[in-house]
Point group: C2
């Protein structure tokens, strides 16, 4: 335990600027984006974008990786994504302006990435299915995989050993900011998401970096492996969030 104290205001100040918040939101897709593209996302000039990104970098919120004459930025880690989601959870909603925005929001509600794992109705449904089937059990820093869970993951081709060896937490619930119920995060959640994308069960929607579309094949597979059928017609009013 180092005897220091956190600088709450500093980090919040970094996020609390519309252009930077838009950039961070875009980076919640888990992908690394070029500085210029992030500037466009934030609606500012390249010069301003560069300043913002430098600040975010100094604040430890993003990392940069140089590639040719492009510089790609990504979130500095899962805990940054977690903080952003937690903030979104308490943010007042403001009305959408266009039909297009409404369509995008509806699509995001069904399936999207939360940093590098699955969120939205799909993410929550998968989480619940894994818990209900006793594939996940309480233990360690969140969840541990049961014998049944290990077999299920092996059947899907998820590299559980690699996930267990990662320096980050293995499996952890992450409160979904649209569903207000947990979905699966951590190394296992990321590995599962990657696998489902690689297998063509899910594809990224070009319109929004975070959006996912479930392919027909994925729909069948989700029903077979997890008993999950989406979109779920049940009412969206679920349990209240909690800290």
């Amino acid at each position: 335990m180092d005897s220091k104290q956190a600088d709450l205001a500093g980090v919040a100040r970094l996020i609390g600027e519309p252009a930077r918040a838009a950039m961070l939101d875009a980076l919640l897709s888990g992908r690394a984006l070029a500085a210029g593209e992030l500037g466009r996302v934030g609606g500012v000039s390249p010069a301003t974008a560069s300043e913002h990104l430098a600040r975010l970098r100094d604040g430890g919120l993003v990392e940069v990786v140089a590639a040719g004459r492009h510089r790609y930025y990504r979130l500095a880690g899962p805990e940054v994504a977690h903080a952003l989601e937690a903030l979104a959870l308490v943010s007042p909603r403001r009305p959408v302006r266009s039909l297009r925005q409404s369509r995008v929001a509806a699509a995001l509600a069904i399936a999207r990435t939360c940093y590098d794992h699955l969120a939205g109705q799909l993410g929550v449904a998968l989480h619940d299915a894994l818990v209900d089937r006793d594939a996940l059990a309480a233990g360690g820093d969140g969840y541990r995989l049961t014998e049944a869970g290990a077999q299920l993951m092996a059947g899907l081709g998820v590299d559980v050993a690699a996930a267990a060896a990662a320096r980050r937490a293995f499996a952890r619930p992450c409160l979904d900011f649209t569903e207000r119920r947990p979905h699966l995060a951590g190394a296992l959640g990321a590995a599962l998401c990657a696998r489902l994308l690689a297998d063509g069960w899910l594809v990224r929607v070009a319109a929004d970096q975070r959006g996912l579309r479930i392919t027909p094949r994925g729909r069948r597979a989700l029903a077979t492996y997890f008993g999950v059928r989406l979109p779920d017609p049940r009412a969206s009013t679920a349990g209240a969030p909690d800290g």
Copy 2:
């Protein structure tokens, strides 16, 4: 699912101001504090404090309850506390300045409240003990109480039925920002914390609203009921956080 989008920047901007951040930090004790006291905490005049509190109120981060000529402010809910803790988790640490600050920080690291439940080494140890003893199991929006867990809580005099009936989540892990491992949050966590305070196992430390001291009686009881012995001499380097 309402088709709206969250205003990430707005909320972060509210938190990202030193005086307001200090106020919110003080409110993380879970108590309601008067406007004047919060002004002193933030190091600003009553006038400025009032402005800040009005903004926080409009932003939905705090609630106010009038009592005589005092107006007491408290966090608007558990999800606000959760967002603050998540932010603290990614905040860079800055060196403490005085010996006094160092002592306070060390005390906070051992036992403190996180909004209305237990955090610090004590909170994490209790969480781990409950999971290890199969008092808590994965289920619902986080944890459910097993039969053994229900008996344990009953023995302590914790009103589990009331906690289960609360509108908030029943039991949920909350990532501790000093330990970087989960402690127990949710209605059950709050009920447990309240019970331990009421029974005199823990007392609040006047120097810092969030700080807790374990009484000699509490120390014995914690060992008896949970097998928990603090301060724990094991190294503080634990698993990395995750979103």
